[in-house]
Amino acid sequence: MIVKGRTHLYGDNIDTDRIIPGKYTKTLDMSDLANHVLEDLDPEFRTKVKQGDILVAGDNFGCGSSREQAPLALQAAGISAVVAQSFARIFFRNAINIGLPVIEAPDHTIADGDDIEIDFSEGNITNASRQEQYQGTQMPDVMINILAADGLVNFLKENGKYELS
C-alpha cells in the first residue's frame, strides 16, 4: 500500500486533548469531529488541510486519552496517513483499527509542506522535496493484516477471530 501527499508538521507530545478536545468527542457524526480537529494546537489547520494530506509529528504523538475520536477526527478531516518519530500506544492501535495508516519513523527530518510517499509494505518513506529516504519501524503481522483489511471491523467481520499471522 502506497500513500502520497503533502505534509503538515507538528512537534512532540501532541496529546489527544489537542487533537480533539473532550468537549467535542461525544458524537457519532464524523463531520463534528473534523470541524474541531487540532483547533487548540493550530486554529488554521482546518482551513489549510486538503483531502489526502499527511500529518507529520515528533515524539509521542497521540498521548493521553484512549479516545478513538482522535484518529477518526484526523481521518474525517482528510488526513490519509500519520508519520511520527514515535507514537503513544493507544493512539497507534486505534489508528490501525479504524484503517488510518500510521508509521513510526524515528529518524525522519520531514519539513512542513514536503511532498512524501509512504510505502507501507516496505515500511519506508521517500521525501521527494528533499531527495531523502527514511526507514520506518516494522509493525507486527497482526497489525499489518488489520490495516490490510482496512481496519478491525472488516478484519473481524471476515475472520470472526483474532489471528497472529
Binding site: N13, D15, D17, R18, P21, G22, K23, T25, K26, T27, L28, D40, D59, N60, C63, G64, S65, S66, R67, E68, Q69, L72, S86, A88, R89, I90, R93, N94, N97, I98, P140, V142, G151, L152, V153, L156, K157, G160, K161, Y162, L164
Partner: protein
C-alpha cells in the same frame, strides 16, 4: 528465565508461557466502556456483525463523562447505551452513580490476577488491586465484546521501589506526581510499571488507585501495585515476580525526601516542588476524578476546612468518585463540613476533569485540581492554567486563594 508479575498474568490468559515483546492472543475477564467510548464501540460491534456480547456478565457500561446529559445530542447517545445494555442484558451504571474506574473496583467487577480492558486510558487504575488492566479504543473494545479475546504485545516492566515513609503533608498523589516528573510523559510508553517497596505496604486501596491511575501519564500500558498489605473484602492470591525476572529498569525512590508536589501547566510531567509556585492566585479548585475523588480525599479536605470558609475569590467544586463515596461522606459528617466551608458538590462523575461541561474555567484563570491531566484545554478552555496537586494542596489553596504548601500547614494555621 523468570517472569515478572505482568508476564505471569498474561501467560495465564494466553494459555502458554510468554515473556516480554511476544505477541499473544489472550482471553479477557471483563470489559468496560464509558459514554465517551461506548457509542462508537456499539456501532463498531454491530458493523462487525455482532449480535450477542460474548459474556453478558463481563461487560459493563458507565455514563460518567458527560453526566447528567448537558444537551440533546449527548442525551441521545446515553439512550443508545441504555438500549444496548437492555438488549444485551449487561450492567449499565447510569447518571450520577460514579466514575467508571471507581465503580469497577468498588463493585468487585475486577479482581487481583485478572486481565481487564477498558475503553478509557485510566483503566490502568485497576493495577492497584493486582490486575493487568489497560486502556483500549472503542473498536478494540468492540472486538473483545464480540470474541472475549484481544491480542497484545507483552510489555517489558519498569520496577519502581519506594523506600522510607511519607513525610507530614504528603500523600500518594505527591508521590506519583514526583514519579511522573522523573520518568517523563513518554518514559514508560509500551511498558508496564510495577510499584513496590515498604513505603506502599500501609497504603489504602484508594491511595494505591491514585498511584496506578497515573501510570498512563508516563505512557505506561499498565501499572501494578504490589499487593503486600492490601486489604480486600475477599481472599486472593498474592502474585509475586520470580527472583530472576528480567526488568527493563529498576528505580529506587526515597519517599522520606518527598515534598508536596504539583504539576504546572501544560503537562502532567512538568512537575515542581510546591515552593516554586506558592502564592500563585487560584480561581477554581477541584477535588474529584478517578485519581482523587474517594473518601480519604474528601477527609483530607475536610480536615483542613473544618470550621473555616474558603477564599471568596475561589469556586471550590467537589465531584465524589461514586455515589457510594458521597453517601459515606454524608453519613460521617464530611459533606456538612465541606458544604459549610463553601464547597459546591456536583453529581458523581468525571465533571470538570474532562472539560465537557460543569466547571469550565474562564480565560486567564488558574485552577488547582486533584485530577491527573493538565494538558492545554483539558478542562474546556485553552486559555486557562491547570495545576495538579494532592487533595490537601487543593483544599489549602482554596482556603487561601493562592497555592499553599500543606507541609507548612501548622505554621500557616498559627498565622491566620
Amino acid at each position: 528465565m523468570g517472569q515478572t508479575i505482568i508476564e505471569k498474568i498474561i501467560s495465564k490468559h494466553a494459555g502458554k508461557p510468554v515473556i516480554k515483546n511476544e505477541i499473544a492472543i489472550v482471553s479477557v475477564d471483563g470489559v468496560m466502556a464509558s459514554d465517551t467510548t461506548a457509542p462508537l464501540a456499539i456501532k463498531a460491534f454491530r458493523e462487525m456483525g455482532g449480535k450477542k456480547v460474548w459474556d453478558s456478565d463481563k461487560a459493563f457500561l458507565v455514563i460518567d463523562h458527560a453526566s447528567p446529559a448537558p444537551n440533546e445530542r449527548i442525551a441521545n447517545l446515553h439512550s443508545m447505551m441504555r438500549d444496548f445494555a437492555n438488549e444485551q442484558g449487561i450492567k449499565l451504571y447510569d447518571v450520577g452513580e460514579g466514575i467508571c474506574h471507581q465503580l469497577m473496583v468498588e463493585n468487585g467487577h475486577v479482581k487481583p490476577g485478572q486481565l481487564f480492558l477498558g475503553a478509557d486510558s485510566h483503566t490502568c487504575t485497576y493495577g492497584a488491586l493486582g490486575a493487568f488492566a489497560t486502556g483500549v479504543g472503542s473498536t478494540d473494545l468492540a472486538g473483545t465484546m464480540l470474541t472475549g479475546k484481544t491480542w497484545l504485545k507483552v510489555p517489558a516492566t519498569i520496577k519502581i521501589i519506594f523506600e522510607g515513609r511519607f513525610p507530614q503533608g504528603t500523600s500518594a498523589k505527591d508521590l506519583i506526581l514526583h514519579v511522573v516528573g522523573m520518568v517523563g510523559i513518554e518514559g514508560a510508553t509500551y511498558k508496564a510499571v510495577e510499584f513496590t517497596g515498604p513505603a506502599l505496604e500501609d497504603l489504602s486501596l484508594s491511595s494505591r488507585m491514585t498511584i496506578a491511575n497515573m501510570t498512563i501519564e508516563m505512557g505506561g500500558k499498565a501499572g501494578f501495585v504490589d499487593t503486600t498489605g492490601l486489604e480486600l473484602p475477599y481472599s486472593f492470591e498474592d502474585i509475586k515476580p520470580d527472583a530472576d525476572a528480567v526488568y527493563e529498569k529498576v528505580i529506587t525512590v526515597d519517599v522520606s525526601a518527598l515534598q508536596p508536589t504539583v504539576a504546572v501547566p501544560h503537562s502532567p510531567d512538568n512537575v515542581a516542588p510546591i515552593q516554586d509556585v506558592v502564592g500563585t492566585p487560584i480561581h477554581q479548585a477541584f477535588i474529584g476524578s478517578c485519581t482523587n475523588g474517594r473518601l480519604e480525599d474528601l477527609h483530607a479536605a475536610a480536615e483542613i476546612l473544618k470550621g473555616k470558609k474558603i477564599h471568596e475569590q475561589v469556586r471550590f467544586i467537589i465531584g465524589p468518585a461514586s455515589q457510594e463515596v458521597f453517601n459515606e461522606a454524608l453519613s460521617d459528617g464530611t459533606v456538612e463540613i465541606l458544604s459549610k466551608a463553601g464547597v459546591k458538590f456536583i453529581p458523581s462523575g468525571c465533571g470538570p476533569c474532562v472539560g465537557t461541561h460543569q466547571g469550565i474555567p474562564g480565560k486567564g484563570e488558574n485552577v488547582i485540581s486533584a485530577t491527573n491531566r493538565n494538558f492545554q484545554g483539558r478542562m474546556g478552555n485553552r486559555d486557562s492554567q491547570i495545576y495538579l496537586g494532592s487533595p490537601a494542596t487543593v483544599a489549602l489553596s482554596a482556603l487561601h486563594g493562592k497555592i499553599t504548601d500543606p507541609s507548612t500547614l501548622h505554621k500557616e494555621e498559627i498565622l491566620i
